[in-house]
Amino acid sequence: MGRQQGRARTFTRRSLLLLGGQLGLFGVLAGRLYWLQVVESEKYQTLSDTNRISLRLVPPVRGRVLDREGEPLAVNRPNYRIVVVPELTGNVGATLDALATLLPVGEADRRRIMRDVARKRRFLPIVVRENLSWEDVGRVAVNTQDLPGVQFDVGFAREYPRGMDFAHVVGYVAPPAEADLTGDPLLELPDFRIGRNGIERVYDLAMRGRGGTSQLEVNAVGRPIRELDRVDGDPGQDVALTIDAGLQRFCMQRLSQEESGAAVVMEVETGEVLASSSWPSFDPNEFATGIPAGLWRELLADTRGPLTNKVVSGQYAPGSTYKMVVALAGLEAGVIAPDHRIHCPGHMDLGDNRFHCWRRGGHGAVDMVEAIQQSCDVYFYELSRRVGIDRISAMSRRFGLGQSLGIDVPGERAGLMPTRAWKEAIHGKPWAQGDTLVAGIGQGFVLATPLQLAVMTARMANGGRAVEPHFARQRIEGGSLVDRVEEPAPSLGIPQRHLAVVLKAMSSVVNDPRGTAFRARIDEPELAMGGKTGTSQVRRITAQERATGMRRPHEVPWNERDHALFVGFSSASRRCASPAMPAPSSSSTAAAGPPSRRRSRATSCWRRRGATAPAGRCAARAPPARRRPEGRATHGPARHLRRSSRRARARRQARLGELGPRAAHRARVLHRLRDAVLGRGRQHGALGGAAGRALRRRARADARRRAGAPALVACARLPGLRAGPAAARRPPTRSTRWACCCSSRSRCSGASAWARSAGSTSASSSSSRRS
């Protein structure tokens, strides 16, 4: 019994102790519960919300790229996809079989789908086919009851309706690479694309837009249960380019007949680029859906460089197109006057070296205008020797050469304007006098891109103001687009009389029978242009070749042929209202619009062709072939209205050549008026009535037949005529002056052909801008 008691007592004691301990630990638990559920409650509340609320980004729509008139150049096309959700279909294989009867599902696709089914979570959709047409979507949609688990999804894919024409300017988009990920979650969305090249890249941030968010309630495996909230983002902004799609199309068409070339047309007063074409080109739509590796390799390997934008990246020796800068440098330095004559015997000796002029026998005694007109090398050897390379370089920098212009297209190259210091620094050798001579004709170390030459021409044509080129109407400021404010460009400080000499010389290049581009002149006075041809050698002409005669272009391998260049500008007079008729329809611009300010387009032409200016030679030596001017009626009811004879006109020109520019211009206008009144001359438009209409119709047909391309017939209209519907659509525009530059690898035609196309380009451009 005592044993029992003792045991019981011990037990009781200990049992109570144990109970106390157990209850104590329960108390600890209660305390822990209090801690979690009261003290730290907010923290866990937040966490539980984070658990169940998933923030999804809604991708924004990318902004478009538009041309000058608002035509879309880069748009977002809906990309219809068919997806299959394994959870909703019992047997993925059977569903795919059923789908295959409506849409082709390839073997590789099938394998990929089955792999994804095994790997991914069951409620995640798996893409079966992308980029479906609407018909395909419809066909599948009608049969959805037989296709369990098949759903539709729509994304956006980038499309370039103009394809190759704008490949270099607009660029293309691609998914962001590792290096581009900045932590912005938008970039990690599967459909997201960023600009890789061209305008798409430069204006990328503004075109992206801002993503919206949608709050979804999700469960632990991430399956969305329902949408709690949605905030829509902002779509990207549209970028309006200054480029004219019609003009660009025309340029590409012409360039496509050559091996490789580039052309750029810009406005002289504002610096807006109207066309920028580089040939060969590629189709940017290939990049949007993932370019096939074979095509990419092909593009990379092509020696003609389809992926480079030759307009801004192609550096060439400017050749004779550089001579105007040398002339201006000489005038400013005071080492020469416009009427000083230098004798060109065909070569010039400097020490032991003989520097040749392109013309074997030389040009004789030429002054500045004639030297530019006939592109005399010896004159410029002498001039550059007098001026010195540093002053030439300084002058060329004022005209935009040798530096980056800060344009809104990537890939710009700065070209090269050598100086003494530069040669010391880079080559470690002192500058030689011979280098100056060679630089004076635009060869040697001198390099320029077509855009820079166009800017140079524009700056000359607009009266010596530092116009800056740009490709888009807006510019980026703080991540969004702001319209550019048109400010008058600052003056370069070149005296007007110097510029006048040079401009007159450039005009005579095209319009004077002795000019190297005479064959390419445009007869319509409103579209008259001035310019300069140039040829840049890529290899030295050997003594043997000099002795036996130059090789024809087609005998030389393609990459050894010289570049052929042409820079030009519209030299139309101030008074001209310059309306022009569009090719297909005959509406006119309002002549009622004030022909006040001129806007010129500067074009620089590049062309890679064969011999050094044989066309120029021909044009200089032989009398110009007797051509019928465009639109001239030689048969039909109006043939009695032939205009004044060629000889008379030539006489008139010679007489005009003796007058100063103002007087000549006045005289020209008077002559035109007289011709119009007397029923002679080129002004068909001055004739009213049925005869006039018939004439015009005939003239248009002739022109179209002749040119092939949508060339124009300019119909000068005296003020007061009817304005057509086109004009009613758009407010009267200021008349524009252009400058252009084109280059190509021609196999046969001379500079004139390109100058002509530059002229017709300008004509068609002004027309397309009117319409």
Partner: protein, 325 residues
């Protein structure tokens, strides 16, 4: 994890650990019932009970089922404690445990990977938020977001949205606390405490050592389950996967619990019948009666006891209070 905890008998599965638990308590109780107090004090007499406890624990730990092994060891320890083993021996054991902790690095390498993970993750659940820490993190989030009054029945977002794994077994308390808050948690704790107190009272008034040890052993087992589960769920101890008694889903745990409570009731009933005159002389209430019926019956029968001061050395007032409560 490949734990071999279940034996598949074709039409149902059962866990031998549950049987072991019961068996251990019964055997140890019987063993100490036969030993006197002096015998209990001798160390050499303890070899057999310790062996009885430790060997199954080791076997179970090899399953591997760490939780049940710990439970068996705790049971053994508790029963030894209650049987009257000298305290200094426990101190010695504690010293041993400390020495083992000192040798932790050695033991660390013997732990399996997932057990190591469990300890590491326990110390910092954020280390593996999507893997093994996931349970603890989710459990704490769900618990904490319950607040004082909870989110409401069936409104628990974490459990409803499947963030909480094992919500019907190991983490049932979390779901309950998320939906009913601190108030609900305290209520459940109070209920468990009440059962504990009742059970211990039954043990205290039992007339034989066997009865006492049986009842308190079962109560200790019950308490260990409840405590381990709730502590695990609130992040106080590493996850060991013990169910919450009477709340968690699971057939075999419930069966063994009910069996053990049946034994406790039996202890009480036999106490009552013994007091009122022994089982042989009169027909006492059947053992299978419900507890409530048994209590009322024993209240009536206990009244005569109040007059005689307990042969068991229990003061009448205390006994009355306890029994009649």
């Amino acid at each position: 994890m490949g734990a071999q905890r279940w034996i598949d008998l074709g039409f149902f599965q059962f866990q031998p650990t549950e049987l072991m638990k019961l068996g251990l308590v019964l055997v140890l109780a019987r063993h100490f019932h036969a030993m006197s107090q002096e015998q209990v004090r001798k160390p050499h007499r303890l070899a057999w009970p310790v062996l009885l406890g430790v060997v199954p624990a080791l076997l179970v730990a090899k399953q591997p089922d760490l939780g049940s092994a710990l439970l068996l060891l705790t049971l053994t320890g508790a029963l030894l404690f209650l049987a009257g083993v000298r305290l200094w021996k426990f101190a010695a054991v504690v010293a041993l445990v400390l020495a083992a902790l000192a040798a932790l690095p050695l033991a660390w390498s013997r732990l399996r990977d997932y057990q190591k993970q469990r300890v590491l993750v326990f110390l910092d659940p954020e280390k593996d938020p999507l893997g093994s820490g996931y349970h603890i993190i989710q459990s704490k989030i769900a618990l904490g977001s319950g607040g004082i009054w909870g989110k409401g029945f069936m409104q628990g977002t974490q459990s409803y949205l499947q963030f909480l794994p094992e919500k019907q077994t190991d983490f049932i308390f979390t779901m309950y606390a998320e939906e009913f808050g601190l108030a609900g948690g305290i209520v459940l704790l109070a209920l468990y405490a009440a059962i504990l107190v009742y059970g211990t009272m039954i043990a205290l008034v039992a007339r034989s050592q066997f009865g006492r040890l049986l009842a308190s052993g079962i109560m200790v087992a019950f308490w260990v389950y409840a405590f381990i589960n709730m502590a695990m769920v609130t992040g106080l101890i590493p996850v060991v996967g013990e169910p919450l008694p009477f709340v968690s889903y699971g057939g075999s745990a419930l069966v063994s619990l009910l069996v053990s409570f049946g034994l406790v009731i039996n202890v009480y009933v036999s106490t009552a019948t013994r007091r009122s005159g022994g089982p042989a002389t009169r027909a006492g209430p059947e053992p299978g009666r419900t507890r409530r019926a048994g209590r009322r019956a024993s209240v009536e029968k206990a009244k005569p006891l109040s007059t005689s001061p307990g042969r068991l050395g229990i003061s009448p007032a205390r006994s009355r209070n306890r029994v009649g409560a």
